[in-house]
């Protein structure tokens, strides 16, 4: 049995960010990964590093997203310097495009309320009417009444991000174990945990981070933790590569460094069904070609569906076990946006052994209704 200072369960974007951040401290860190037959929530990532519109009724989450966007520049530069992998992070600001007047009015009301809730912290955005929008996004469609712009928004390549995190983790001396589905976590009386996996792997560890996507629910039960998450299906459409026309990411479409366009988003409540469905794909392409009609001339290369994490209010669930305080569980919807704070702040919490009180807002106790 291999003994680790810290074991991270889950090789997706969250687990890999924690493994990378924790291993930078020099301890023996292990990343235990079920494998590609697991429900890979990270497959649903669109690649936005996004602040705009997030955090209604929870200004702490708006601040948290913005903090991560700020942390993304040094984070991506460090990954590049260490691994040689560019994760293609750009922060030109992002446009939230509205497709009709009603949607525009709703979005403006949302951002106004977010700014009110933010108080002294501020909430940066600009209203961009149609004529001005055409100067920034020349391909914008005639039906679009306008958009809002937030300077903190950006995008990155999630595939390269995952690879860079795992590469950096291993360069830090971390040990990655694939094809190891955790079947049992047993607290040890003298402290720490024993982890049993399919395939015969066993680990002992002093600290434990559960970041196993949908698998976290079951694993949490081994340590008396209730993790209130459920699947939401998102579908993504990718077009062929084309000349660069979009200098900014938007809520519907972004163009990668290779010239591909990614089209989204969608959200379906269909349990653990991960099959694509044509009505949703039609809705995605209709919205995106209304926003950017030139996309009609491109071929679709592929589409897929993924089962992303959702919580009752959409905000992260960060939890330290009360029965076993050396165990933590982290779940969230926006694994790309929050990757920078996961690799830095949150990893520091684990090393320090405590989630700071000002981040107690992400504890699932917020869902408890007083009887």
């Amino acid at each position: 049995m291999r003994h680790l200072d810290i074991a991270v369960i889950g090789g997706g974007l969250l687990g890999s960010a924690f493994a990378y951040g924790l291993s930078a401290d020099g301890g023996r860190v292990g990343l235990i990964d079920e494998g590609d037959h697991a429900i890979r929530t990270a497959r649903g990532n669109f690649g936005l590093v996004w602040v705009q519109g997030k955090g209604l009724s929870m200004p702490d989450y708006a601040r948290w997203s913005r903090r991560s966007a700020y942390a993304w520049t040094p984070f991506s530069e460090q990954l590049h310097a260490q691994t040689g992998i560019s994760v293609e992070y750009h922060r030109p600001g992002g446009f939230y495009v509205s497709l009709d007047e009603q949607e525009f009015a709703d979005n403006l009301a949302l951002l106004k309320q977010l700014r009110n809730e933010a108080g002294e912290d501020g909430y940066d955005y600009e209203i961009v009417e149609r004529s001005a929008l055409r100067e920034q996004l020349p391909e914008i469609g005639p039906a679009v009444p306008g958009a809002t712009y937030c300077p903190h928004d950006g995008h990155a390549n999630p595939l390269k991000l995952l690879r860079a995190l795992q590469e950096g983790f291993q360069l830090n001396g971390g040990v990655y174990t694939p094809r190891a589905k955790v079947t049992r976590i047993a607290p040890v009386t003298a402290g720490g945990f024993e982890i049993h996996c399919d395939g015969g792997h066993r680990f002992g560890c002093d600290k434990l981070v559960i970041a196993a996507g949908h698998g976290s629910v079951e694993l949490g039960h081994h340590l008396d933790m209730e993790i209130p998450i459920f699947p939401v299906q998102g579908q993504v459409v990718v077009t062929e590569r084309a000349q660069m026309t979009m200098a900014y990411p938007t809520n519907y479409v972004r163009q990668t460094d290779d010239g591909n366009y990614l089209l989204g988003p969608s959200a379906r409540d269909v349990g653990f069904n991960d099959e694509t469905e044509t009505t949703t794909l039609r809705d995605i392409t209709r919205r995106c070609t209304t926003a950017f009609p030139h996309l009609k001339h491109l071929r679709v290369q592929r589409t897929w569906a993924a089962l992303r994490i959702m919580t009752p209010d959409g905000f992260p669930v960060y939890l330290q076990s009360e029965a076993y305080p050396e165990a933590f569980s982290f779940s969230c919807h926006s694994g790309v946006t929050l990757a920078a704070v996961h690799a830095t702040d949150v990893s520091r919490w684990v090393l320090d052994g405590q989630i700071p009180s000002r981040y107690r807002c992400f504890h699932p106790e917020r869902f408890n209704v007083p009887a």
Binding site: E240, R241, Q243, D258, L298, R299, R302
Partner: protein
């Protein structure tokens, strides 16, 4: 680059730009072009890197060509037909500028 394992018994003629190419009747367009020594099917729109078939099973989209005026077809998925006129991915004209070291 590639050598056929069997002699083509009943060839059909297809065209890549102005060049006539003998293909086996059950070749895909991509297989016929590769067998004829054509190593570059076009260039990437952004980086201008040369592109050639990678997967041959319809996944990678690096074999896109124009066939009889229809653009952006996956050469690995289209069977050859006598007289077919194929052009490289738009924006690229073949010449002698593609080196093996670029591929």
């Amino acid at each position: 680059m590639f050598r056929r394992r069997e002699r083509v018994s009943d060839p059909v003629t297809i065209w890549f730009c102005d060049r006539a190419i003998e293909a086996a009747a059950d070749d895909s367009v991509a297989a016929a072009l590769l067998a004829a020594g054509i190593a570059c099917f076009g260039r990437r729109p952004v980086s201008a890197a040369p592109r050639a078939p990678f997967c041959m099973i319809g996944n990678c989209f690096d074999c896109l060509v124009e066939i009889d005026g229809e653009t952006n077809l996956q050469a690995c998925l289209v069977p050859v037909r006598g007289g077919m006129r194929i052009r490289p991915y738009p924006g690229y004209e073949p010449g002698n500028d593609i080196k093996m070291s670029e591929l």
